[in-house]
Symmetry: C2
Subunit: 335 residues, 2 copies
């Protein structure tokens, strides 16, 4: 069995075409965003929509719950879909929903999406006050049930405090080093170092606003950045989180950015001149292009095992360490 | 491994004392009601409350999902708690919630609770129009995911149509034959015959309003009734569904009967003179008294295997046949 291929973030306008592209690209597992600003009930509606996809295309996709499902996907020629939320709105103000959402398959949850949340501070706020009282409680509960803390859209202080407070390694599923491209969403060296030292994972983003030169960034430039990051963070701490938003209308990027929190337009990483989804680099258009990245990484001088780790092996290990209950109940201990 | 002991319906005012009584009574599995009139979100709050019980008392109870959990409970000296709803209010008007609730562990759902629902007609309505359009769709979806149709509080025609329309055996988890005691909630011979012929299960109720003579019904009278029913339905179709409502205040019986559907008081099976919970028979006060029933059944002349089946073996077989997906997905088929 070869190493699995995993993408740790996509939010596409799902369709049979896209699921077939996942298979064409040999993608064994994808962490998909099911919530940006949705309440619990709205998140459940999104899960219901996914259940209909699973029922319609059982030969292409199925819901992933454990790391074993990645191996099962590879073995059966399908793609395991793991749910995640980019915002804790899905758990509202109710810590009991952490376990309920985990039972429904949620495996990643961001503590913030750009703005201040009930739990922590987003990366677009002027001031970052770190984890809130509730944030500390929720991180502990996420640790207990096996829901990964994802700080992709959080501020530096909040991220450092989440790394410190969490008893399990956390993830930044989709971002790049700010030292390479100083976007608001990319991460400081201090954050990346703390992430790496704590056993956490960074997923490299292909979203053009996170790339030096945007959509014009070359495959070589991207892969050289990955290689330099591997030297600093350790090659085992790295994976891909493409942030692929394929086939989405611009109304979706408006929903991501403005949700229901403002009556005006927030351009987020875009601008009044370029408010929509930016065009992807020509070497990564969709799920069929992961081979380009693997080849680009090999061209930097990485060995086969290192490339295989970044293309999915490291996420597979992280999934295995992260998705189970950390305080086994009697039931599990007895088995 | 001896035959498990199962109670197919309780709605107690849960406490450590009651969980310890389950253990003292060697009760391996209990189907507990988590919803009477609650919406989806309110049902999830009830699940959250159960999650806290599971976290607090892992040596006494755990949540059951499959029939294997009954064996695990017996093996580890604990009680497996299976969730059920006495009302489809928990799925609101959304068929997608059937699969979501099943994922959260719901294993039984009544199509009605006394009144007309979106799905069928309750046993207190003047006219029973059978399964509704949505009712037929929901029964098919329940069949698909492995959520048992429970018609304990439904009218005769609705029950017969559910038996006919369902592709899997259904249950009447808690009721007695109306020919023995003609309570509105007890079941006609025609319903019991159709239930038996379709492979369904009847759980005998110990709720005094369902007993001839109420709380004064003797153990012998009850067990003779069981033996006579076994002759007509077949001994394999029978179990216990005690309807134990231990330690509940009378406000709870008011909630069960009146929910939010009336501003006046509905006395249900009670009356203005006796509006509260009736006293239980002295031979079945709580979970510690199941041995009395087993002994009473043996005294009717039943053999050991027949008694063991009624005390839990039949429910265990029904659980094994009923809780899994009937249309295995690729994933399950591949394993």
């Amino acid at each position: 069995m070869t190493t699995p291929r995993i993408d740790a973030l996509q939010y596409a306008n799902w369709s049979e075409d896209i699921f077939r592209q996942m298979r064409a690209g040999d993608v064994d597992a994808v962490h998909v965003t099911i919530t940006y600003h949705e309440t619990f009930r709205e998140t459940v509606l999104n899960i219901e929509a996914w259940n209909r996809w699973f029922e319609r295309f059982p030969d292409l996709i199925f819901q992933g719950f454990t790391a074993d499902d990645v191996a099962l996907a590879r073995q059966t020629g399908r793609t395991a879909i793991f749910f995640g939320s980019q915002n804790p709105s899905c758990m509202e103000d109710d810590i009991g929903l952490v376990e309920v959402l985990h039972r429904l398959g949620l495996r990643f949850m961001q503590l913030t999406y750009n703005n201040q949340s009930l739990l922590a501070t987003g990366c677009y706020e002027a001031e970052d006050t770190g984890l809130t009282r509730m944030g500390r409680e929720v991180v502990a509960e996420m640790n207990r049930v096996g829901l990964v803390v994802d700080m992709s859209h959080s501020g530096d202080r909040s991220t450092l405090e989440a790394i410190e407070h969490s008893t399990r390694p956390i993830a930044i599923t989709h971002a790049n080093p700010a030292s390479w491209h100083p976007a608001r969403r990319n991460k400081s060296d201090r954050v990346l170092q703390a992430l790496s030292e704590s056993g956490g994972m960074l997923g490299f983003s292909l979203y053009p606003h996170h790339l030096r030169g945007g959509g014009d960034c070359t495959l070589t430039e991207f892969c050289e950045m990955v290689a330099r990051t591997a030297e600093r963070m350790g090659v085992d701490r790295l994976g891909i989180g493409s942030d692929l938003c394929q086939d989405q209308p611009d109304s979706v990027v408006e929903w991501m950015r403005s949700g229901r929190w403002t009556k005006t337009v927030d351009f987020g990483e875009g601008s009044a001149d370029a408010p929509g989804f930016p065009p992807m680099p020509d070497w990564f258009r969709d799920n069929r292009d992961f081979d380009n990245i693997a080849q680009g990484l090999r061209a930097t001088g990485m060995c086969h095992a290192e490339v295989a780790g970044i293309m999915g092996g490291n996420w597979a290990r992280f999934f295995a360490e992260s998705f189970g209950s950390v305080a086994p109940r009697y039931k599990e201990a007895a088995q």
